[in-house]
């Protein structure tokens, strides 16, 4: 067990390698109950959230979720979060390590008619992720839930809020279930999926799969010293939606161009670029590794690096400090691996043939 944002969580249940393959080839079951969950309710809750987050939540209707960033006045990323639009108000899911900071930020900015309630300890959250997740989840009607959509249903006979979201690059679901019933659902999913190769998956497999999918981890790949454009998340910033915290600075960053960029690196077996390791090119230091691991699935180590803008193009060579020596790396396109996750533009694309 390791400490993760104050929660005791398993790095692995059996083996990181086996759990990683289960997620990529069948499905893996993660306990992500450590994520912070807030309910935001009240007459002006939409307007309030719109002023806190970077994406445009105005068009969200009941049953839709959206990936968002929350920035400080300087445009630095306080956290990344998913905003769920419910029938009465909103629900947000934030990083465990930021829960208390986020909660006070929300409450500090909330007008009198908006109530922000921490529901983290009443609802458990589990994630079932993999190319066979829909087939193997004991629940009917899942086809009606689009990517980044959610609905209600019974999973193994127990009521759940079911969201087609995740952090692995695979298709799959995140299930919000009453804490005192979640154990039964967990056991039923594992028992039913055993023959197909379903495994419980720990933090190690979660980090490897999210990194292959190039999903950013707050605290590693971004923090309050990094703006969304540097993190490669400019697509979540809707400058035209009206005022929100950080907008003025972000408008200027967009106009001037970001000073740093996040790039993907492929490395040689045995060379793992660890968080903070120096990245250089032609003898000049240009940045640092933000996340790195060995990908059992791809068969080589991968890393994300925050480097000076325009220092690299895809295909370029880079040098990374590994155990005090210089290790070669190649700049590659992100994501490192594209899993079975449906895309938001899926419908639009299929309409055009």
């Amino acid at each position: 067990m390791v400490d993760f944002g104050g929660w005791e969580m398993p790095q692995q249940y059996t083996s990181i390698r086996d759990e990683h393959f289960a997620v990529r080839q069948a499905a893996g079951l993660f306990d992500v109950s450590h994520m912070g969950r807030f309910r935001v309710a009240g007459a002006s809750s939409r307007q309030f959230l719109q002023g806190l987050v970077t994406n445009d939540i105005a068009p969200l209707v009941h049953g839709q979720a959206q990936y968002n960033l929350m920035c400080n006045e300087e445009g630095g990323i306080i956290d990344d979060l998913v905003v769920y639009c419910g029938s009465e108000g909103f629900f947000v899911v934030v990083n465990a390590s930021n829960r208390e900071r986020d909660l006070s930020w929300f409450r500090e900015h909330a007008p009198a008619d908006v109530e922000v309630e921490d529901r983290t300890f009443e609802l458990a959250l589990i994630a079932f992720q993999g190319p066979r997740a829909q087939e193997l989840l004991p629940c009917d009607g899942l086809d009606a839930i689009p990517y980044f959509g959610f609905g209600h249903g019974d999973v193994a006979g127990i009521h759940a809020l079911i969201s087609r979201t995740g952090y692995t690059g695979e298709d799959g679901f995140e299930l919000f279930i009453d804490s005192d019933r979640v154990g039964d659902v967990w056991d039923a999913i594992l028992a039913g999926g055993k023959k197909a190769g379903v495994l419980p998956a720990g933090l190690g497999a979660r980090d490897a799969t999210r990194l292959e999918a190039a999903l950013r981890l707050w605290g590693n790949d971004m923090d309050e010293s990094v703006n969304p454009y540097e993190a490669g998340l400019g697509w979540t910033v809707k400058l035209g939606k009206g005022d929100f915290i950080g907008r003025d600075v972000l408008q200027k960053v967009k106009a001037d161009g970001a000073r740093r960029q996040l790039v993907g690196l492929k490395m040689q077996p045995g060379d793992i670029g660890r968080h903070g390791a120096a990245v250089s090119t032609q003898g000049k230091s240009v940045g640092v590794i933000t996340s790195g691991t060995h990908s059992f699935f791809l068969g080589y180590p991968i890393a994300l690096a925050m480097v000076e803008a325009r220092s690299f193009q895809v295909g370029d060579r880079a040098v990374v400090e590994v155990r005090g020596r210089e290790a070669p790396a190649e700049v590659v396109k992100l994501p490192f691996y594209r899993g079975s996750a449906r895309s938001l533009s899926e419908k639009k694309e299929s309409r055009h043939g």
Binding site: I16, R17, G270, I272, F296
Partner: protein, 125 residues
Amino acid sequence: MADRRYTKTHEWVTVDGKHATIGITDFAQSQLGDVVFLELPSAGRKVAARETFGVIESVKAASDLYSPVAGKISEVNEKLASKPELINSDPYGEGWILKLELAGDLPADLLDEAAYKKVAEASSH
């Protein structure tokens, strides 16, 4: 089977006459998680007791390896180059790391199983 002795840095050693075999403990492999790579010296190199002789890299972190005893390396487990996971699956058997020809006496601070167990328990909290 010779007695296995341990270090506070989670290596083990077994001694048979002048020959020693060393590896890392089951507790160490469970803390490291899946091992992906080992950087090891070549046979013929001399090491002192508690000297760093290599690096073990797991998905979680890179850690130094320390020799529990002094001696000259006679053999390196070549299988670990292609199957580093042997460290996880069989740390006291197929996952051995080095064989040494002992030089001098065994260090006095090597731990027996009961004493090592206490060290491991203390570091898991």
